[in-house]
């Protein structure tokens, strides 16, 4: 018997180079994945992980280097060839047809045919058998539209397996899942692995790496900087390799100085009363929610995405009309105010999707730093170039935005630095309440620390902060009180001391509900 290290590796990438214009996404990147293991590919945003996986799956050609799969040189292959050879990508954004059944979705593109017609019965059989073999239990006859996010993801994995994939590439699969669904996903992946498949997992969550993988490859700035056995390393060690310096992970674990705010005696800075908001698909995406946030307090909203958090924040920000209810900033009713007037009344907003709402990527850093406050940087309708430049110089220095050229388009910056532009802009204006939606999404480890510190500083300066995050860990780290949102309602509101992942998990899935304030 040969030891695993002497086997032909399932995947071996050597010296991969990839350029996008002036950007070198991959420079001499290497990756070696053994047969039948779960392998983590980690790195900060923009480290080149996704590019490397796209090259492996044939979606992108590489400029240099070799790709070997099962010992065979397959450099420059196409997606179709990759699929035929058993390399399949499980998409992060589900590519499913909601009006078709699970079975129909799984076989789509490779439908069993009899007498020139789609053989529905055989499709059902095939998919049911595949479900049993892989342990991915989803009703084959159910409509995809009726599935939960976790189930939809299982269908994506089934699709990849159905096409005969023996090497599965998963790009941040837990981003959209609640904690119990994540646990379930690990079970599934282990079972698929035990069935002989090899799995490459792209992630930036270090606990996932420690939990399910055998080996970990760390990328930084397009290069492979470390390759190690998971059992021989620690989260701190991986973070160090990712960032290139020591990172204080304890902040992220939730240890911090308690808030000094006294929630009961101060008047609320932000108050929402019986708010009902229509969503894109449901009439009551926010269903009669009331809460207050005191000055110097962070109220964290936990919950799986799509339970009304977006609609709630957009309604408070003035981007979405509310059906009924009231929004008060301090003593002032802002329910009917326009976006700009809410800002001037003291409401600041870090939007959840910085590319859609937070930035204009084609605009310069300087122009983005005044977005939303352009009416304060003008004289008789003419923009005050000197004031804009002075503001840019000040914010770039204060928030360490890189590169420092204020004339550079925001789109040329990394995700972390783009988010710093948003944070700098929203924190430097005068405000009493801040809406922070997914403030660290798609941001690297170093910038997360920085953004968390900024939020705490604002809290300590007496600002009221409403934090929404899909990362339960982030809510637990920052919030003084935690509300769990499910189906458009707050199903529970707990103080930080009462809350932990185990307690919040059942609320997030809707398994548990209690009448909440």
């Amino acid at each position: 018997m040969t030891s695993p290290s002497q086997q032909v590796p399932a995947v071996r990438l050597t010296g991969i180079d990839k350029r996008f214009g002036a950007v070198r996404a991959n420079r001499g990147a290497t990756l070696e994945v053994r047969q039948g293991e779960i392998h983590a590919l980690v790195g900060e945003n923009g480290a080149g992980k996704s590019t490397l996986m796209k090259i492996l799956s044939g979606a992108l050609p590489c400029d240099g280097g070799t790709i070997e799969v099962g010992g065979r040189n397959v450099t420059g292959w196409t997606t179709a060839e990759a699929i035929a050879s058993g390399v399949g990508m499980v998409h992060q954004h589900f590519m499913l047809v909601p009006t078709l059944t699970v079975a129909e979705n799984v076989v789509l593109g490779r439908e069993p045919v009899s007498v020139g017609m789609f053989d529905r019965a055989r499709a059902m059989q095939d998919v049911e058998r595949l479900c049993e073999q892989s342990g991915l239990m989803v009703g084959a006859d159910r409509l995809v539209a009726d599935l939960s996010v976790g189930e939809a993801q299982r269908v994506e994995i089934l699709k990849t397996l159905y096409r005969g994939a023996r090497i599965l590439l998963l790009d941040e699969p837990t981003a959209v899942l609640s904690p119990p669904e994540v646990t379930e996903l690990w079970k599934v992946l282990r079972r698929v692995r035990d069935g002989g498949a090899t799995i490459v997992l792209i992630t930036h969550k270090l606990d996932e790496v420690m939990h399910v993988t055998e080996h970990v490859t760390v990328m930084r700035q397009g290069e492979t900087v470390a390759q190690m056995a998971t059992k021989d390393t620690t989260p701190e060690g991986i973070a160090h390799a990712m960032v290139g310096r020591a990172v204080d992970l304890s902040v992220r674990e939730g240890r911090r100085a308690p808030s000094t705010a006294n929630n009961t005696s101060t008047a609320p800075a932000l108050e929402v009363r019986n708010l009902v908001v229509r969503g894109p698909r449901v009439a009551r995406a926010v269903n009669d929610i009331s809460f207050t946030v005191a000055p110097g307090e962070i109220l964290g909203i936990a919950g799986v995405e799509g339970n009304g958090q977006t609609e709630l924040l957009e309604a408070i920000a003035g981007l979405r009309a509310s059906t009924s209810g009231q929004i008060l900033l301090g003593q002032r009713d802002i329910t009917a105010l326009a976006v700009r007037d809410r800002g001037d009344a003291g409401l600041s907003h870090i939007p959840e999707d910085r590319h859609r709402r937070g930035l204009i990527l084609e605009y310069s850093i300087a122009d983005n730093l005044i977005l939303g406050q352009q009416h304060h940087y003008q004289r008789h309708g003419v923009l005050d170039a000197a004031a804009i430049a002075a503001n840019a110089a000040k914010q770039i220095a204060a928030y360490d935005i890189r590169p420092t050229d204020a004339a550079l388009a925001a789109g040329a910056l990394s995700g972390g630095n783009q988010q710093k532009i948003v944070i700098a802009r929203e924190m430097s204006r005068s405000f009493s309440a801040l809406l922070a939606a997914q403030p660290t999404r798609g941001v690297d480890v170093g910038a997360i620390e920085f953004i968390h510190d900024e939020l705490r500083k604002a809290r300590d300066a007496g600002k009221a902060i409403l934090l929404v995050s899909a990362e339960l860990r982030e809510v637990l780290t920052l919030a003084d009180r935690i509300a769990v949102m499910y189906g458009g309602r707050f199903v529970t509101v707990l103080s930080r001391a009462e809350a932990n992942e185990e307690i919040l998990g059942p609320f997030m899935t809707g398994a548990k509900q209690e009448s909440a304030a």
Binding site: R357, L359, I360, H375, V382, L383, A407
Partner: protein, 357 residues
């Protein structure tokens, strides 16, 4: 700064130049098909346009109108809308200028009459532009459809008014204006004798400069471009997107309407049915090749005017339709290479897929 300069070069200047090169090669092939020497034909084209004062004057005249319609389309594209309505707005502007010139008593000083006529042209164009702007802002009606349809309505309406109420017998043009004439260049520079070039080009040049200043130096311009690039972010920044669309379409219409004075006040002295003659539609190509930048629009207008006038010059050797083919090739080449067009196509595709565009 270096990176920024490079971006401008790569994204702004390069695509039109590449398109030009492609058109040149295609032109060579077409000329060879007619059994002529490409070099000789190109030389004749240049001599007939930039090589003599009359030809150059005609280029300037044509470029003046095209600059207006190009700026009109460019403003709409900057706001994220695609106006096809410059043709009707151009005609409406010319007609309004003529009506104003007829309403003013003869003998009114030109320093008063000309601004009144210019204002009338801009207001009429702006009013036509307001229709698709308001319909888009209020009801989400797609501006491409509305502007196309509005062209038919406006042109038919003007045809009706002129042919039934305002024409000189046996013609399809209005009587000569009482006041509001813009002098020909030939009045000052005798070499331009016979060409239609007139001082409207100074007014239009000033409009282009003012538009540049508006787009890139004022708060309203900042907001207009923001709406065009990322409407959701603009909304989050407190910009009323619907109002910005309405204003942009009105401004677009006013600029196209301004172009009408070139013919009416500067050339003929009356409004004639059908004078727009496709200059409004060609404005789309001018805006695309000019990359929606006022300076680029002026250069692109000169380019298309040169092709148009040059077609007449080379007619002896090759059919003048050759330049129309060249125009088409330039438009297709630019349209496939400019980011704005790709973005608009992508957004449209996103909308059709029912996704979040």
């Amino acid at each position: 700064m270096n990176a920024r300069f490079r971006t401008i070069l790569e994204e702004g200047v390069l695509p039109p130049l590449v398109a030009l090169a492609i058109a040149m090669v295609a032109g060579d092939l077409l000329i060879l098909m007619y059994g002529q020497a490409p070099g000789a034909v190109w030389r004749m084209l240049l001599e007939g346009t930039w090589g003599n004062a009359y030809g150059f004057g005609q280029v300037l005249y044509k470029a003046t109108t095209l600059t207006c319609t190009g700026l009109a389309v460019a403003v709409s594209l900057r706001a994220g809308l695609f106006s096809i309505g410059a043709e009707g707005q151009l005609a409406a502007g010319g007609f309004a200028a003529a009506v104003a010139g007829l309403a003013i008593p003869a003998g009114t000083p030109e320093f008063f009459a000309v601004p009144v006529c210019v204002l009338a042209a801009c207001l009429a164009g702006g009013a036509v532009g307001a229709v698709p702007g308001v319909l888009r802002a209020k009801f989400g009606a797609h501006e491409v459809i509305v502007t196309i349809m509005l062209n038919f309505i406006v042109l038919a309406l003007l045809n009706y008014i002129v042919s039934t109420k305002l024409h000189v017998p046996e013609t399809l043009h209005t009587p000569e204006l009482h006041a509001g004439f813009v002098s020909r260049l030939s009045g000052t520079f005798a070499v331009f004798h016979g060409s239609a070039a007139n001082w409207t080009l100074v007014i239009v040049g000033a409009a282009a400069a003012a538009l540049w200043w508006f787009l890139f130096r004022t708060r309203a311009g900042y907001e207009l471009r923001a709406v065009g690039l990322q409407p959701d972010a603009a909304e989050n920044a407190g910009v009323k997107v619907g109002a910005a669309w309405r204003n942009a379409m009105m401004l677009s219409g006013a600029l196209a309407g301004l172009g009408g004075i070139n013919f009416v006040l500067g050339y003929k002295g009356y409004y004639e049915d059908g004078f727009a003659g496709g200059a409004g539609f060609l404005g789309i190509a001018v805006a695309l090749v000019g990359r929606n930048h006022p300076l680029g629009v002026i250069l692109a207008a000169l380019f298309f005017a040169t092709l148009s006038q040059g077609g007449l010059a080379i007619n002896a050797m090759v059919p003048k339709q050759l330049v129309e083919a060249l125009q088409g090739i330039v438009i297709v080449a630019v349209a496939t290479s400019v980011p704005e067009v790709r973005r608009i196509v992508r957004q449209a595709a996103g909308k059709m897929a029912g996704g979040r565009a």
